[in-house]
Amino acid sequence: MQRELARQFLYDMMLARQFEQAAADQYQQGNIAGFLHLYPGEEAVAVGSLRAADAGDYVVSTYREHVHAMVKGITPRAVMAELFGKATGCSGGYGGSMHLFDREKRFLGGYAIVGETFPVAIGVGYWLRMTGQNDVVYCFFGDGAANQGTFHESLNMAALWKLPVLFICENNHYQIGTEIHRHTAVPEIWRHTTPYGIPGKRVDGMDVAAVYDATRDALAFVRAGNGPMLLECDTYRYRGHSMADSGAYRSALEVQELMARDPVRTFRERALAEGWIRETEIADIEKQVQETVADAVQFAEQSPDPDDVRKDVYAEPFRLYGGSR
């Protein structure tokens, strides 16, 4: 592996871990409100898959999307400020944690209704195909989302019209408190693509390099005009579903087992063992990450609130009754 890439993976994952910890702290302090879904344990999925993307590729993600947003290039400042609901946030404070957007970075949002990412992604794919563009759209979704009708409806249309969509399942084995064997008859999500003739593949979602390699292959397949593909990343979340959930429905043993496969720690150890990185470099990253996160929090704290509640309800505001002005 290239040293530069290994360093990047480690930086991204360490930043992700620190960032989410800071978000949890800020939530406890009352600076962040609402629903907050954190990503620790799943870092290798967003980092491995999105580091394989081209800048022109689009991303459609769920409400658990802070890390996707940052890897796609939205600054930690803009993400943290959005969690704080500030005007400097990537959605101007109008979206919050579950609705991160960045037009320039082609980050088409976090969607908080489970199963919405599918139709949005095939819509982007349809447009790309119709206009002959070579970009790919990433469609993230959870294991629970695979039970929505939109999943099957969209797989069908994506296959039917050979749309350039890369479906990425973040299978963390839980749909809030319902374990996967209790929520789907076919817990291998990649196999759900069979009736639609879409290639599906399962990859170790705790291994950033494996996710990266699998994504590169999948992107090549999709970009070549072969239609969609689905990658199921087998992963785990260390925290509860959201800040409102302690995760008490999982056994301590289960969590312990998965902690032993911590994607951040295991990759750090491997990178050291393989000689991709040195201890001193890791210490540098550690410091850099801490500073970046502290800066993001400070930036969010000091940023102003948005002040126009009626803004942007309509692209073309009007004053008639029922308008926003």
Binding site: F101, E116, G123, G149, Y314, F318
Partner: protein, 343 residues
């Protein structure tokens, strides 16, 4: 704004000032918009090869090909959501939902996504999506195929809801809806598609959300849209025989509502009656009446009333079906009662 008279590259469907049917006017609007802008595309069930359930997309598949006139599987939520996704990145999709009844399966895409994405993204994205849907009580299609969805769609900030009823308005408003950068729901009435009416491609269009006075009068304002405009006009004719001059306003748009036109009329007539096909309880008429009371209470000599559909699922039996929606007789009866001075 794009020219409404694109070079269609074939014998034009229309000549200046003539009669057209509603479906033909809609078809013409689609054809011109597609010729003028390659970002415009249509999708829905049977819109392509089949030509559309009400012929609205007839001929377009042959002309523009399958990528721009896309026959979809029966997956309303996902193909409407597909429209949302495409709109986010530069497309100008026109989704046809076969009838409003099936739009209930697409409300997530319409209400949770299309209506909110601009706001939630802090204004970064626009959703120039048009969703067309035929609806209303047609002829004995029974309860699941005879609904109106105004009540649900009106209460959604971010959506625009228009209700063209004439060929001219159908052409103008669909054209304007396609040009609009906001999601626009175009409600069409199944019984109006074959209505003929005067059509002038050169006439200066009314704004998308303007209400239109269809008949002037001094005694009472009848407020209606879609097929109920015809009912109101018929009632006005009868009332004229009794010496009562009713003004008939075709709303053309339900959100936003052209309240100034209503207020102006009521300041003249001092009486208003909403004629609505949808069920009475919590329908659009309730909003119209309430807002008129707020805006023009001083001008009103009597409360604004409603003649509306009964609060029942639409029955199959033809006689019962007719009894479940307003007719001119009911409008006349209520109008006379409103105008009878109370002692």
């Amino acid at each position: 704004m794009r020219s409404r008279h694109a070079n269609l590259g074939h014998e034009p469907v229309t000549v200046r000032a003539r009669e057209l049917k509603v479906w033909e006017a809609l078809n013409l609007a689609l054809d011109e918009a597609m010729a003028a802008d390659e970002a415009v595309f249509i999708l829905g069930e049977d819109v392509g090869l089949y030509g559309g359930s009400y012929r609205v997309t007839q001929g377009l598949y042959a002309k523009y090909g399958e990528w721009r006139v896309r026959d979809t599987p029966i997956s309303e939520n996902s193909f409407t959501g597909l429209g949302v996704g495409a709109a986010l990145v530069g497309g100008r999709p026109i989704v046809e939902i076969m009838t409003v009844n099936f739009a209930l399966l697409a409300l997530d895409a319409i209400i949770n996504m299309a209506a909110k994405l601009r706001y939630m993204s802090g204004g970064q994205f626009t959703v120039p999506l048009v969703v067309r849907m035929p609806g209303g009580v047609a002829r004995q299609l029974a309860a699941q195929h005879s609904q109106r969805l105004e009540h649900t769609l009106l209460n959604v900030p971010g959506l625009r809801v228009v209700v063209p009823g004439t060929p001219q308005d159908s052409y103008w408003q669909l054209t304007q809806a396609i040009e609009c950068d906001d999601p626009v729901i175009v409600l069409e009435h199944e019984l109006l598609y074959n209505d003929s009416g005067p059509f002038d491609a050169e006439a200066e269009p009314l704004p998308l959300h303007a209400a239109a006075v269809r008949r002037e009068g001094r005694d009472l304002t009848l407020i209606a849209w879609h097929r109920m405009v015809g009912v109101a006009l018929e009632a006005a004719e009868t009332l004229a025989g009794e010496g009562i001059e009713a003004e008939v306003i075709d709303l053309r748009s339900l959100r936003p509502l052209d309240l100034p036109v209503l207020v102006k009329s009521v300041e003249k007539t001092h009486h208003a009656l909403v004629v609505e096909e949808d069920c009475r309880f919590a329908g659009a008429g309730a909003e119209i009446a309430a807002s008129l009371h707020e805006a023009a209470f001083g001008a009103l000599d009597a409360p604004v009333e409603r003649v509306a559909g009964l609060d029942v699922p639409t029955p199959y039996n033809g006689l019962l079906e007719q009894a479940s929606i307003p007719d001119a007789g009911a409008v006349v009866g209520t109008a006379l009662r409103i105008l009878t001075p109370r002692v």
